[in-house]
């Protein structure tokens, strides 16, 4: 807030981008080399005994090599099918192009994933906002550029796996553009988004620290400007971040077994991880922080919203801090207190199962087996090289687990997850090469369920995300089994209608951000070429959009329906286009697509 008055008179010339301490070229602590990663994936499979030799070897060449039994017996291993590769791609990123499918089939899933995770961070959201010239005084309080930035990143970034995983993190370590006010909220959101991307394949300890000191998070959960207690007046430190960093970002409310199940006491009651006193004590750690205005220029270079928050020692609590069994002595300097506190959280045994379970839910399935959670938690605890919190190892464990890779024939009829509306929309845009008609990327907050998607990136209604990991949809068959299905929390009579209506227009005419700017697919060339052969068109859409999950009955139904549309076969013919649009919409509306399995 102070920044508004203080900075008004500063020079406003743009400055060159400084070298970033936490930039993509910085060494990533705990990252393991590609070979170790593949070995880990293999070890996970062997250890759990859940993967058949067949599944195992398909993960990649190195995995095969590490399993002498499979190689030695000379068992013929069928190559990875295109559908299997597409299914993996749709879990690991947003879409699955024909080229990507062939890449994965050629080199195997684990090596492909390792390559993607090792690829450099793509262009940042921050830089995109600067390049677009949104660092202007007249729009300094406007957060809509955060929406443009987020959609642009999700749809165009070359590092799609990183973006998909960062989106998952944005639904765990939540900051929402809807909860920020004051100056430069779009830049603050971009800096937050960039932090998630920078650390998505780093180490959780560094991610936790970067997110704790991120100005957007500081504003969202009130660490920014948080002051120590005042014993005279009775003023207390703000407890918001202290509570949520435990409840939502690291350990959760109940002690967990390594497989994510809740620990209970002798009377069967869940054992709580912390109480009010832990919150009050930990809150002291997060006092004394505020914006670091080094290099800041109001509106034009609002880097105070990217610099990690800085400690004002005189506003930092000097009291003893006792929480989660740890004790930080009175008068410990603030930076040291923060280090000790974050180490304590990071090393809590809950983090692996707590975070692992949620990453599985975001990418693979809503109700993973305890064994699956345990395997991911084990990867969190040790990446195979003795490092805790290595997010490459964790992400690989999530995506390469035998439960993730089991074929649909082996799945229970409750397995899988409802695809999120944001991910569906990004998948459409990426699959068919949607572009911004004027380069402006006026993709707005599409959260309105009546008229839009019912969800929009970085627009959660609260720190509790769009949906909760423990959400059980009432009055459903899922509820009878007590099964969680988080995405159903934003699924209702209004949202299902809003989504289909929104995509009906998007597919054919584009998504209008203004009367002169839209995100659209200029031409569905490959699909139009098949408009005269509906079964072939459906086969293509089934692979690219649904990883082959559509049943023959559904494919036949759609193919017959579009065949009834009169078409001359010319690409510009309304009938040809209507066939393609209708087929895409029917695929993207049907439940076999919407439930990713």
């Amino acid at each position: 807030m102070s920044i508004i008055e203080e900075k008004a008179s500063r020079p406003t010339a743009p400055r060159p981008e400084p070298e970033r301490v936490d930039g993509p070229n910085a060494a990533t602590p705990g990252a393991v080399p590609l070979v170790a990663l593949s070995a880990l994936a293999s070890a996970v499979l062997v250890a759990c005994g859940g993967g058949s030799g067949e599944t195992d070897s398909r993960l990649g060449a190195q995995a095969v090599g590490s399993r002498s039994a499979g190689a030695g017996t000379g068992t013929a291993v069928p190559p990875l099918s295109a559908a299997e590769a597409a299914r993996f791609l749709q879990q690991a990123q947003f879409s699955s192009s024909a080229a990507e499918i062939e890449q994965v089939r050629a080199i195997g899933m684990a090596p492909w994933l390792a390559q993607q995770m090792a690829a450099p961070l793509g262009p940042t959201g921050w830089q995109w906002l600067m390049d677009q010239g949104y660092n202007r005084e007249d729009i300094i309080f406007d957060s809509q550029y955060s929406d443009f930035m987020a959609w642009n990143q999700l749809i165009t970034a070359p590092d799609a796996v990183r973006k998909r995983v960062a989106l998952a993190w944005s639904e765990i370590l939540v900051v929402s553009a809807s909860g920020l006010d004051g100056e430069s909220p779009s830049f603050a959101m971009a800096a937050y988004w960039d932090v998630l991307n920078t650390h998505a394949f780093g180490n959780f300890r560094q991610l936790l620290e970067a997110i704790t000191l991120n100005p957007a998070m500081g504003a969202y959960l009130n660490t920014r400007g948080n002051q120590k207690e005042d014993l005279v007046t009775g003023r207390q430190p703000d407890e918001n971040y202290a509570r949520e960093v435990m409840q939502l970002f690291t350990i959760g409310l109940y002690r967990l077994h390594p497989d994510g199940s809740i620990q209970r006491d002798g009377s069967g009651r869940p054992m709580e991880t912390y109480g009010p006193s832990d919150v009050s004590n930990l809150a002291r750690v997060f006092t004394g922080y505020d914006l670091d205005e080094t290099g800041h220029a109001r509106a034009t270079y609002p880097v105070a919203f990217r610099n990690p928050m800085t400690l004002r020692e005189r506003l930092h609590s000097r009291l003893e801090m006792e929480f989660l069994g740890a004790r930080i002595a009175a008068n410990t300097p603030g930076a040291e207190a923060l280090r000790l506190a974050l180490d304590t959280l990071f090393n809590h045994p809950n983090v692996g199962p707590f975070i692992g379970h949620q990453l599985i839910q975001r990418l693979v399935t809503s109700a993973p087996s305890p064994q699956y959670v345990a395997r991911v938690a084990a990867a969190f605890a040790d990446n195979g090289a003795g490092v805790r919190g290595d997010l490459r190892a964790v992400t690989a464990a999530v995506l390469l687990d035998p439960e993730a890779r089991q074929g649909t024939a082996h799945q229970a009829p409750t397995w899988g997850k409802l695809r999120e509306p944001v991910v569906r929309c990004v998948q459409w845009a990426r699959t068919f090469g949607a572009v911004s008609s004027d380069g402006g990327w006026r993709m707005h907050d599409w959260s309105d369920p009546s008229t839009a998607l019912g969800q929009s990136p970085l627009r959660s209604p609260s720190v509790f995300n769009f949906f909760r990991p423990g959400y059980v949809p009432p009055n459903t068959a899922l509820a009878l089994g007590g099964q969680t299905a988080p995405e159903f929390q934003i699924t209702n009579e209004t949202s299902v209608a809003g989504y289909i209506n929104f995509m009906e227009n998007a597919i054919a005419f584009g998504i209008y951000g203004s009367s002169t700017s839209k995100l659209w697919v200029p031409s569905y060339d490959a699909e139009l070429a098949l408009s005269g052969d509906p079964p072939a068109l459906l086969a293509r859409l089934n692979l690219l959009l649904a990883a082959g999950a559509l049943s023959q009955a559904t494919l036949d139904l759609i193919a017959q329906a579009i065949a009834s549309i009169y078409s001359t076969g010319a690409n510009t013919d309304w009938g040809s286009q209507a066939r393609v649009w209708s087929a895409i919409l029917m695929v993207m509306a049907c439940p076999e697509y919407l439930v990713q399995k």
């Binding site: 703000d238 009010p276 009546s450 459903t476 099964q483 919409l585």
Partner: protein, 467 residues
Amino acid sequence: MTPPTSLARRAFLRRVGQLGAAGVATPWALNLATMGEAAAADASDYKALVCIFLYGGNDHGNTLVPYEATGHAQYAAARLTLATPRENLAATALTGGGLPPGRQYALAPQLAPLKPLFDARKLALQLNVGPLIQPTTLDQFHARSVPLPPKLFSHNDQQSVWQSSGAEGAVHGWGGSLGDLALAGNGQSLFTCISVTGNAVFLAGAQAMAYQIGAAGPVPISAATDPNGLYGTSTACRDALQLLITQSRTHVLESDLNAVTTRAIAAQGSLGRALTGGPDFSAQLPDVVGAKARSLNRQLKMVARLIAARAALGLKRQVFMVSLNGFDTHDGLLTRHPALLTQLGAAMAGFQNAIDAIGMGPNVTTFTASDFGRTLSSNGDGSDHGWGGHHVVMGGAVKGGTFYGQAPAPGLDGPEDVGQGRLLPSTSVDQYAATLARWFGVPEVQLPWVSPYLGNFSAETRNLGFL
């Protein structure tokens, strides 16, 4: 500790056979006359409950402010810069019964539109209500010698506890339980429980389910229903699409999803027709005030329109839910909270005017709920998560102009202060819900269906008396 009704519910479900597998409400097979008479009412009888949920945890301390000089001084000493100055409260100071001698409260200045309703005895204030499993003293709380609600002070869980007695993951709320008892008496029973906000457990019953409607009305799926067909081109594609999104599926997630879509299509037609030509209420509840969108006005306007359409839908008992978000005022309390209360006060008064205008004043009772109250002490520019808080009950049937429950000490360290002015509730949500349920028509013997812990409170305290 097992809530009594979860056992009752299981037994009940066994009696009625399994729940409908997914989605579409199965006809209520049981003759409810043997279980209750919530629905056994004459044709002219109609009652609705409207829950206004204040997401984030309303700062009760600045909603209803101690006004007598000594009490205000104690309040101000605790709140520091957060205190509303006493001179700003003169116009909203309330004179009403129910308070100890010498105590007085004033509404926040932004709630001024509610004062005439209080004075007209259409509005009551319930003091210090929150989740409890049984009556609890401060000593018992500190000694943890009695069962306490799960996950106190946590947003998502206390939202769920307020709505359902259970933490996150609960699948039955007490609004839905009221709906269960009302289903049989309602013509188009799908519209028994309606949410004009997002999904919430409050309106989920064992059989009754929350129908979700947009603030602008039900949304048609044009691609599946357009007379001209999909893209104005193909009726075959339209019909294929409709089949795909409504057919039964063996995969459970697919099946549950299609059940929602099926309801959406089925409801949209009949509801759309019932709403057409009805009163608009934009005068009482404008969408925009001073260039700012008023979300709560829009939601309550839809509730008023639905109530006006009740006869066309054959409805006699309904439960509605609307919400206002943003009450988690850890910071900016002095700017954000007054803005929220401005919305709330205008929306509640406007809604009562709208309901009175169609002559349904005595038939509709509106009440507030929230995650929790907040600390009385200040963190500099905001307050933190608490427990008990004050709430508002409004309607023509309300015995208004009075305070109910026990007034907590105006400052810190009172007999209900569990720390930093967080209030140990002196009235439970179960008592609050049961009082509303009794008015709704639920007989005494069935109140535990709605309020599972009611039996833990002595008989003479189970009816709070505001209805």
